[in-house]
Symmetry: C2
Subunit: 254 residues, 2 copies
């Protein structure tokens, strides 16, 4: 794992979603948004997401690109018992380690599967790269695993979520990114100039503007401010509120 | 654009989602799944997705990596009037061309915005890289654009969808990937071995297995077969059905 450790102010992460079914559109991903919000709440900054097909060379290239660049990589998908589940083998290849049936994982499978039913296919779910630690799966027992700074989880949302809960207490995290949302009540194009001027006064506070469309209301604008420093965030929010108050008067909306 | 043109059997694509709000989890992406399904129906194979923050160097690196590798790149987000909307400038940088207010885009904006309201911020939405063609926005007029093989669209789903509809008739497409879903009615671990054996007999037909969890039913397995050749797909589906029938008998479920 990179040296940004427990005391680091900023801990970064990427998500790697593995699966043809996401790319074909047959399955609509529900994991990216869930993990993104979960990591923000933990104090981990999600910096990038990639979705790749069930093709070993693509998985290996993506995980190697991401794991060298970010503190954590979270993968979803491809750890079941069928021939298209190739994530564990791809991770072994990416890290240049061997892979074999892991007796700790077999013991976990046997909590749910009768010994007579533990066929060769199901034993695939106990294939774990050498040196990995296991991630407990409280839903269906077949574990995920952590190798280096890569956390390999299931694609089924309920199982992925249980694995993330099991994993979270073990993760080095950073100072939480705090955020403040302000409903502008004005059109984005009317406040963009003065909003940019406030951003210039607070270069250390991230400021975004998000237009939305609500049935019956029309277009709305939400301004989002982000900082790790609560006092600076409050100062910036006050400056944005003051700007909005002035603009409401100027535009005859106040 | 790469030389895979109108008559190509396979046309490939990537999606580049641009936006801090997706990475923070504040906004849950609804565009990836929509575009994925849309492209599959058009006859375009989605091969990769990336999500990057509102940081120019990251956007430039991602779009340059994707546009050289795939026939099309579809981007979403970052083309509004505020200072955090930097996608158009990033595309100009990626392609090494200039960017300025485009009079065709101004004319589109004026269909909806009164001339007196067309301030500097709103004119940002008419900044278009040199050489790009515009993508009509029937919802809110501010256009997207196509530069080279990169199609730059809005992040708001309703607007992105309208832009995709405007764009679709202009896209070179390939032979459609056809698919067939088969509900196994058996546990994934019980059929994984025989399913892999069928896959070996049909190496030209992609076969995936997707466990799902339904409240009240428990775990289910959907087998998905994919091919551009309808006859081969039907043959493979028949082979999978025969395998399943045999397994139902063998497992005492038939």
């Amino acid at each position: 794992m990179p040296e940004t450790s427990e005391k680091a102010a900023i801990v970064t992460a990427a998500i790697l979603v593995i699966g043809d079914e996401i790319l074909s559109g047959r399955t609509k991903d529900k994991n990216i948004g869930y993990i993104a919000e979960y990591l923000t709440n933990l104090g981990i900054d999600l910096r990038e997401v990639r979705v790749v097909p069930d093709v070993e060379v693509e998985i290996v290239a993506a995980v190697n690109a991401l794991r060298t660049r970010y503190d954590h990589v979270f993968t979803t998908g491809g750890i079941g018992p069928t021939h298209d589940d190739i994530t564990a083998d791809a991770m072994a290849r990416a890290f240049g380690v061997s892979i074999d049936v892991d007796q700790r994982a077999v013991a976990m499978l046997l909590e749910r599967i009768a010994p007579a039913d533990l066929n060769e296919a199901r034993l695939r779910m106990a294939r774990i790269p050498a040196g990995a630690s296991l991630i407990v799966n409280s839903v269906s027992k077949a574990p995920g695993f952590t190798i280096g700074n890569v956390h390999v989880m299931a694609g089924v949302p309920a199982i992925m979520q249980a694995m993330l809960d099991a994993l979270a207490p073990t993760l080095p995290t950073g100072r939480k990114m705090l955020s403040r949302s302000i409903e502008a009540g004005l059109k984005e194009g009317d406040i963009a100039g003065p909003f940019a001027a406030v951003q210039l006064r607070f270069p250390d506070v991230g400021m975004g503007s998000y237009p939305g469309f609500k049935e019956g209301v029309g277009y709305t604008t939400t301004l989002v401010l982000r900082s790790r420093d609560e006092a600076r965030l409050a100062e910036a929010a006050a400056a944005v509120e003051a700007m909005l108050a002035e603009m409401r008067v100027r535009l005859g909306a106040g």
